[in-house]
């Protein structure tokens, strides 16, 4: 066996006093050999990012301190290095890429300069040699037209291209170790598939050891040689990918893997006979850009969208970012005014109604947003958030509170918690509160815009179950917006696939997943990470 590039031994990182636990990570040990991809998997708060930052020597000073252990890079203990020595190692011998390509690049610096900066810090190359090296590495991460792209700014690139720039900057000096902290989480599936392919290819070509942080078992199945599972700062299990995924020994690992939604949709009772509650006809949303002197540009965010949802039905709207799915959701909730077309709620067109005429229809459509951390007003108690709507529509306060208590119970929270504030709840609990808030209006239509994307897998499953439960219980028509095919497969009766503002495919979930018709849908399915892997079907021991 070859000597590991990275050998973490008994790493313990202390949290500041008064945190919810003593150590951020405790007695963590694992190794990465050259050319190996090791995935560290865990939910938020498991300590996986802290581990990565400890290796980089980038823990926030005075807040997180290494209390014990060794971090050996090619046998050399990084914890004994001075800050100056660590600066020579970072960027040269360890490269790192981050989750958000949108924010991880300096917006006011040309991307070529951001790659060249690494060379500038660690080498004494001439201006011309530097530029050539940058062009070479840009070509090696398959960026089109490096000669042109070297001089653009980050905002002129797509998310995938930016992540390629990040990878280029991390790899330009051929580091022995690459740390990737959730590098594909913020990307579309298709882009994610390309980036994963690129990372596999680069590892092969350069024999780099890769420490890959992720929460996504699909990605693990796709890319990892070995897996390290973390929970509450401890390693609960590690081993070869196939072993861990098929024969997990630890109960927590099992729970995590079981929580990964399957790509094969379960059988669902047909609602084809139920009356149509929501219908859009030729819905158009066109954004106009350009000003005083410029030529006008038009973006068709939604183009001739026709869809209908029946009572008690969950319609999934699937697509990548920029496909127009959120635009459609916002039109239906009338948070924006569509440019053209009709939105029929039980036959009444609300597409162009003015504020006053719209008011009685407002309560009929309620929306749950993606990020429960930002969709609740931090200065208002949960009770206020839930009762505000009904009280606005004339319910007396006492009745509204009684109703809020019932709803809290319904979404699985303590009714006595109404006086508390959003920050006192976890992400999953907040999303439950958002659902309760939507239900308080007694709506006929629930629009759920990526309601579980910001949540951990285990929490995700529970919230999905809750949404499906309220659909049944209140016979709601649900419009479920998601980019995640696995999620869509589990909860939707029918699926609409959107691409560049248009509906490209529509059908029952079972039919679409069994035999996608449109080329785009097929491509979308092909890029789902871990699609060939059946999660949660463990081998018998």
């Amino acid at each position: 066996m070859t000597a590991p590039v990275l050998d973490v031994q008994g790493l313990t990182v202390r949290l500041p006093a008064r945190a919810d636990r003593v150590n951020a990570v405790e007695n963590v040990s694992f190794a990465v050999t050259p050319g190996e991809i090791v995935c560290v998997v865990g939910e938020s708060g498991s300590g996986k990012s802290v581990t990565a930052h400890a290796v980089m020597g980038l823990l926030p000073a005075r807040q997180l301190t290494v209390a014990a252990g060794r971090i050996l890079l090619e046998g050399d203990d990084l914890l004994t290095k001075t800050p100056a020595e660590m600066r020579h190692i970072r960027g040269a011998r360890i490269g790192m890429i981050f989750q958000e390509p949108m924010t991880a690049l300096n917006p006011v610096m040309r991307v070529g300069d951001q790659i060249a900066e690494v060379l500038d810090i660690h080498t004494k190359l001439s201006e011309r040699e530097r530029r050539q090296r940058v062009l070479d590495v840009m070509a090696s991460v398959h960026l089109p037209e490096p000669e042109r792209m070297i001089d653009v700014y980050p905002h002129q690139l797509s998310g995938g291209q930016r992540q390629r720039i990040m990878i280029a900057a991390a790899l330009v000096l051929d580091p022995v170790l690459l740390i990737a902290d959730e590098p594909t989480t913020a990307l579309d599936v298709a882009t994610q598939a390309q980036i994963l392919k690129l990372m596999k290819e680069l590892r092969e070509r350069r024999n780099t050891g890769v420490l890959f942080i992720t929460h996504d078992f699909g990605v693990v199945a796709e890319i990892a040689h070995r897996v390290v599972v973390m929970q509450h700062g401890r390693v609960v299990e590690q081993g070869a990918t196939q072993d861990v995924l098929r024969r997990p020994r630890d109960e927590y690992t099992r729970t995590l893997i079981r929580a990964v939604p399957s790509l094969s949709p379960p059988a669902r009772a047909s609602v084809a006979d139920a009356p149509v509650v929501l219908e859009t006809k030729h819905l158009m949303m066109t954004y106009k850009a350009g000003g005083f002197f410029e030529k006008r540009r038009e973006v068709k965010a939604a183009n001739d969208v026709n869809l209908c949802v029946r009572r008690g039905e969950m319609l999934g709207v699937v697509g990548e970012s920029g496909s127009g799915k959120s635009t459609v959701a916002r039109c239906i909730a009338r948070l924006i005014v569509p440019s053209d077309g009709a939105i029929l709620i039980e036959g009444a067109d609300v597409a162009k109604l003015g504020t006053r005429a719209l008011r009685p229809h407002r309560k009929r459509v309620q929306i749950v947003f993606q990020d429960p951390y930002r969709s609740l007003n931090p200065r208002r108690s949960v009770g206020d958030a839930i009762t505000e709507g009904p009280v606005n529509f004339g319910m007396n306060a006492g009745e509204a509170v009684a109703r809020a208590r019932n709803l809290m119970r319904l979404v699985g929270l303590d009714p006595d918690a109404l006086a508390r504030f959003p920050h006192q709840f976890s992400g999953g609990q907040r999303q439950r509160i958002c659902i309760a808030r939507a239900l308080a209006m007694d709506p006929e239509i629930l629009v759920a815009d990526e309601p579980v994307s910001a949540l951990d897998v285990s929490v995700q499953a529970q919230v999905l179950e809750l949404i499906d439960d309220v659909r049944k219980r209140f016979n709601l028509a649900v419009l479920f917006i998601t980019h995640d095919l696995r999620v869509a497969a589990q909860v939707c009766d029918r699926i609409v696939v959107m691409h560049k503002g248009e509906v490209v495919e529509e059908g029952t979930t079972a039919a679409v997943f069994a035999a996608p018709q449109h080329a785009y849908t097929k491509a979308l399915f092909d890029s789902a990470p871990g699609r060939n892997f059946e999660f949660g079907k463990f081998d018998q021991e």
């Binding site: 980089m56 980038l58 960027g91 981050f98 690049l105 917006p107 006011v108 610096m109 700014y153 000003g291």
Partner: protein
Amino acid sequence: MLTFILKRALSTIPVMGVVALTVFLLLRLSPGDPASVIAGDYATAEQIAKIRTQLGLDQPIFIQFAHWLGDLMRGDLGVSIFSNLPVTTLIGQRIEPTLMLALTTIVFSVVVAVPLGVLAAWKAHTWVDRAVMVFAVVGFSVPVFVMGYFLIYGFALGLHWFPVQGYRSPFSEPGQFVSHITLPTLALSAIYIALIARITRASVLEVLEEDYIRTARAKGQAEIKVLLRHALGNAAVPIVTVIGLGVAFLIGGVVVTESVFNIPGLGRLVVDAILKRDYPIIQGLILFFSFLYIALNLVIDIAYTVLDPRIRY
């Protein structure tokens, strides 16, 4: 980029037009007859009529505006009622000390305040940070004239390091210029140093939380370069905004400072003109300062696009 600057410059023309019209109407629409106001309390009817004809006030208002605008285009701002000298000449005589004082103040403020602000942000919540911020609060709180007299008392009367008052041109006597301009610059700078240092600190502190700062550190970049290259570059837009606002407000401060240090600049011209109700001068100065502000805004807008490639108008 060049077309952008050209477009942006062209779009200031309507603004300048509105300013010109407002300034014109200001005098015409003010209550009372300007001619009789100018003539004073003891003037005869003939004298008033003469002034009226002299100012063209007996003609229809549109014709008056056309004449006035025509004069303006040729750079003619009219003639002072009291000194009978053209307003442009008067402004020309007084402009140098004011511009010099404004320039030294802004340069000195930026040179001192931006590094102080960056330092405070870098050492946030330590004694360094607190010392800078205490200094900033003091700078805010002490009025310009108090600061001015305080400096004169200490450094001119007490230590005899600098002259008490007056002004020398940098073009004829550079050495004397420096010694004369130092105390006024210090007095006027205090508040701008305080303002710019605070904004720089807040702005850099916010940027230091950004992901790309972490990226820069992950590349092995030295802390000083992380601060100057990545943090300050991204924090620049709000800082430049405040510097621009500072220059705009500077005019008020200059008037006071010129009085305290007896500098023959525009500030004194303004005060004298207002006290004597010399309308053409007041009008000319308002126009002059308005156009200065418009030009300044143009410069700031262009600076934005240079500092942040995402900003395009």
